[in-house]
């Protein structure tokens, strides 16, 4: 079921490292620069760095929100791209896509932790799933983020702990998200991208 991967290019951050990782894995992809190119792809990646509210605004300006919400094809949000799939972010109190009825929160100062959460943290995949197929149940991935998606047994595909248990990966129907950066997470991260290209 492998098919062309479209990267939703809505101007939210640098994607050089992501495309480099796809190249290394031999995964064919192209940029989706405008909404009329959307339908010709078989799967989608929503990248994203920076401010979730600003990213949402750019996504709206791209005109691709309705296409993303209506597709039945696999979608993978990475980092802020994953947060966009939630209904709300405490970052700028932003309303987001609302694919999954969960919220994106700021790591509380009360946790006395260093923020941004930067580095390699252990990710536990909770159930057998296509995205983490072939990986150990506990694997380190590379994170850089200040906001996290709350743990929810219905949607959390893999969890990590940083003072609080949060969603390192989520799934809702055909929508997937990873909070870590697969393109920077060594061979494990490349495996995630490869797995997604085969869903």
């Amino acid at each position: 079921r492998s098919g062309a991967l479209g990267i939703i290019n809505y101007g939210a951050g640098n994607i050089f490292s992501l495309t480099a990782a796809l190249n290394r894995q031999g995964i064919p992809y192209a940029m989706i620069n405008s909404v009329d190119e959307f339908d010709k792809f078989e799967r989608y990646i929503i990248p994203g760095v920076g401010h979730a509210g600003a990213a949402m605004q750019k996504l709206e300006e791209s005109g691709m929100v309705a296409k993303i919400l209506n597709t039945k094809k696999p979608v993978l949000g990475i980092c802020v791209g994953m947060q966009l799939l939630t209904e709300f972010s405490e970052e700028g109190n932003s309303k987001l896509l609302g694919v999954a009825p969960v919220k994106t929160r700021l790591f509380s100062e009360n946790l006395k932790l260093k923020v941004p959460h930067t580095g390699w943290n252990k990710v536990s995949s909770t159930i057998d799933n296509e995205l983490f197929k072939g990986l150990d149940q506990e694997t380190h991935f590379y994170f850089v983020h200040s906001f996290f998606i709350e743990f929810n047994p219905n949607f959390t595909l893999a969890s990590a702990d940083y003072g609080i248990q949060f969603s390192a990966a989520l799934k809702k129907d055909n929508y997937y998200g990873v909070q870590f950066h697969p393109e920077k997470s060594g061979e494990a991260g490349e495996k995630i991208l490869k797995n997604f290209s085969l869903i």
Binding site: S17, A20, A21, G119, Y162
Partner: protein, 250 residues
């Protein structure tokens, strides 16, 4: 969180400066091949310090960053002579995960705020070279040759407040001694900040890495020559850390 092990590569005119003792290395001067070897050995992150002095500097830095981003699957930082927002922008778009600034931040502290506002604090590493002068830790520039009036602890707090996402602290008193990291200073600094701290300067053997992680709560330890000359191999270093119940990524 896993503690990070970070080899640092000095690069000049697109070539690595220090000798390297890996077997099967086709070209020890090629930073990308070296970087690849380190990533295969289990390095968690890499730092490239560009010491090119020519006017071609920016071009060679960008080419290096692109080549590394194409081939290496772990995060990396580039530092050396980044003085303007446009320098940082071009390196970000070439695939750098972070930039490291040192003297540019001391000379113009607003630069930290500007970088954090433009790219987010996670992109901004402030490197600090410190040296003890008559009982006071002072920030130094040019690899410890030039003393400033900045007190190290105060400067690091200021850098954090201005938007540094991470501090790379090199003790010039320990650097090159192979006598171990400056654990008392690192612990003191680490306890006062709430952003990640990378320890640098003084690594000579495996025990020094165990010590720095056990005695301080730093997030990462950086070294150059002990890795380049093969005195410490990353897989066995990580194995030893793991035996001491220090979380590492294997």
């Amino acid at each position: 969180m896993a503690k990070r092990i970070i080899p640092c590569l000095d690069v000049k005119d697109g070539r690595t400066v220090k000798g390297v003792n890996f077997v099967d290395l086709r070209d020890a001067g090629d930073p990308v091949e070296l970087a690849w070897q380190y990533s295969q050995q289990g390095a968690d992150e890499l730092v490239f310090l560009d010491i090119t002095a020519t006017h071609e500097r920016r071009k060679t830095m960008v080419e290096l960053v692109k080549a590394v981003a194409r081939q290496i699957n772990i995060p990396f930082t580039i530092g050396g002579g980044i003085n303007e927002i446009s320098d940082a922008d071009i390196l970000l778009n070439a695939g750098a995960d972070k930039i490291s600034i040192n003297s540019a931040a001391v000379r113009n502290p607003d630069f930290i705020d500007e970088l954090a506002a433009a790219f987010g604090k996670q992109f901004v590493v402030v490197a600090v070279d410190t040296k003890l002068v008559e009982g006071t830790n002072l920030v130094h520039l040019n690899g410890g040759r030039i003393a400033t009036e900045f007190e190290t602890e105060k400067w690091i707090k200021e850098a954090e407040e201005r938007g540094a996402g991470e501090i790379l602290l090199t003790s010039m008193d320990h650097d090159g001694t192979k006598a171990g990291f400056d654990n008392s200073l690192l612990k003191k600094i680490n306890d006062t900040i709430s952003i990640p701290l990378i320890a640098s300067g003084g690594a000579g053997n495996v025990q020094h890495f165990i010590d720095v992680f056990e005695k301080t709560n730093v997030d990462a330890a950086l070294a150059a020559s002990v890795f380049h000359y093969g005195e410490i191999l990353i897989p066995s270093l990580k194995e030893e850390l793991r035996k001491h119940n220090i979380e590492v990524r294997l």
